[in-house]
């Protein structure tokens, strides 16, 4: 009644196919997407 939950890859992550530095270049990961189709 009092709390709504809106929505952490540990099991199947780490594939490395997703690099953040490649828009900002100076104030670097939150806005990345996982590109592992199996995760």
């Amino acid at each position: 009644k009092h709390i709504v939950t809106l929505n952490m890859s540990e099991e199947k992550g780490g594939c490395g196919e997703c690099t953040s530095c490649q828009a900002c270049k100076t104030s670097c990961i939150a806005n990345q997407k996982c590109e592992n189709k199996n995760a």
Binding site: K1, H2, I3, V4, T5, L6, N7, M8, S9, E10, K12, G13, G14, C15, G16, E17, C18, T19, S20, C21, Q22, A23, C24, K25, T26, S27, C28, I29, A30, N31, Q32, K33, C34, E35, N36, A39
Partner: protein, 465 residues
């Protein structure tokens, strides 16, 4: 660990280690706060009854029952179970998957705030030869293990000063990607001066993303972004960028601006680019300086910047409602399919997965370390000889920085930028605290937008019924 804050009329609770985002009523918000302070359920229940005299015993019971249910489901007050991921990363053999190719150590603009000192990186001017670029591509393929997606950014200086080498490099990479089972993703970062029809056609065919440098309003852009004769670049680059973006269709691009002490009202620059120039994919970054420049952001600027980030978030929600959304790079959060925990712990991969290549083929941990002799890793012809440095960068993660221990945003920033840390504290394992403060504010705004968007979606669903 949790983080609670109120923004735009919402009570928001982030559970750090599950990345769960909760929206609560006042009763639950204060109950969670009391428990987070270390109060027992009985003590918290008593205090809550004092605080909310109108609340029924049933209401208070329900609140604690909700909290307990979330705890039981691993969505609230979860423990940190990810330190082992940092240990795993330390032992793992890393592969290189991205290169920043500095194809031109020179520039046709003369921006005084440029961290790369007008493309020369405090060294000599020079252009990368195709032979060096070709060798860099081979180095990447040879050192990428079984990674399929490989990234190359054409950077400088101004890469289009050496456009011919950019074209030949892509042509070469495309000619070998199938036999090596690789997928090259090229990006281009440009100041727009040399953007021609030929460049547009090439970039729209070959580049996965383009980053276009523009600081916003004409007077803001032309304060720093001037040519060697001191003339502003706005009138020349804006039409080029508009043509570029129009031709780009639905392919990715970002207008990338820099704000400084001189334009702490940077939302006006973002809105100028959106409303007056027609750009929708936007990124505005705080200036990086040596701390001595008058453009350096100050502690006094912080409240202004915080307010600006909130203004931006609220305005973006308004635009969404009006059906004309814009994108702000730092507000792009995916709560369902974000980066995996290994990525969240290890960060950008500088010095391990990501390296910068100078025009002469020297390797550095990233574009911000170039020409610092202490950080030269090797070169693309002979490979990496400073494996000790690679190991040091491998250890640069959210668990190696004591300052990050108590930070709620640690699983979103991964410990921050090592180059900024070095420049601010003299240690790549330090933290650039000013950047942290801005980052946390941006995350609060981004999460608030997610809450508001969920509410909007719910309202639309209700209307449809």
């Amino acid at each position: 660990m949790i983080h609670q804050y109120k923004m735009n009329g919402y009570n928001i609770v982030l559970d750090v280690y599950s990345a769960s985002v909760h929206v609560t009523d006042d009763l639950a918000y204060d109950a969670i706060h009391l428990l987070d302070e270390g109060k027992s359920v009985d003590e918290a229940r008593k205090e809550l009854a004092e605080m909310y005299k109108d609340a029924s015993a049933e209401d208070i019971d329900d609140t604690f029952s909700d909290i307990q249910e979330l705890k039981d489901n691993g969505k609230l007050f979860t423990e940190d179970i990810y330190e082992k991921a940092a240990g795993y990363l330390k032992k793992q053999t890393t592969v290189v998957k991205a290169l920043c190719l500095l194809v031109a150590h020179t520039c046709n603009l003369n921006c005084s705030y440029c961290f790369a000192s007008q493309g020369k990186f405090k060294g000599d001017e020079g252009l990368m030869t195709f032979e060096t670029a070709k060798r860099a591509i081979d180095f990447l393929v040879e050192n990428s293990g079984n990674r399929r997606n490989l990234e190359v950014d054409f950077f400088g200086g101004e890469p289009l000063v050496n456009f011919d080498v950019c074209k030949k490099t892509v042509e070469y990479a495309r000619s070998i990607e199938k036999e090596h089972n690789k997928n090259f993703r090229f990006t281009l970062t440009t100041n727009g001066v040399n953007v021609t029809d030929e460049v547009i056609e090439w970039a729209n065919k070959e580049c996965y993303n383009v980053v276009l440098s523009l600081d916003g309003r004409k007077e803001v852009n032309d304060r720093f972004r001037v040519n060697r004769a001191g003339q502003g670049s706005y009138d020349r680059i804006v039409p080029n960028f508009q043509k570029f973006v129009k031709a780009r269709g639905d392919k990715a691009y970002y207008m990338r601006g820099t704000f400084s002490h001189y334009n702490t009202d940077f939302t006006k620059d973002i809105f100028h680019m959106a409303d007056d120039l027609g750009f929708t994919e936007l990124s505005m970054e705080p200036v990086v300086t040596d701390g001595k420049s008058p453009s350096t952001l100050t502690e006094e600027d912080l409240p202004v910047l915080y307010e600006q980030y909130e203004i931006l978030a609220k305005d973006m929600l308004r635009r969404e409602k009006d059906g004309k959304p814009i994108t702000f790079y730092h507000y792009m959060i995916d709560l369902e399919h974000g980066p995996c925990v290994y990525k969240r712990v290890s960060g950008c991969g500088s010095g391990t997965e990501y390296m910068a290549v100078t025009a002469w083929g020297d390797l550095y941990p990233c574009h911000q370390f170039v020409n610092d002799p202490e950080y030269k890793l090797g070169n693309v012809f002979d490979g990496v000889d400073r494996t000790d440095l690679v190991d040091t960068f491998k250890e640069c993660n959210v668990y190696s920085r004591p300052e990050c221990k108590k930070c709620w945003a640690r699983m979103y920033c991964a410990g921050g930028c090592s180059a900024n840390a070095l420049h601010a504290t003299g240690d790549i394992k330090g933290v650039y605290e000013y950047g942290c403060k801005l980052f946390r504010k941006r995350m609060e705004c981004a999460l608030m937008m997610k809450v508001a968007e969920a509410e909007m979606a719910q309202e639309q669903e209700n209307e449809a019924e």
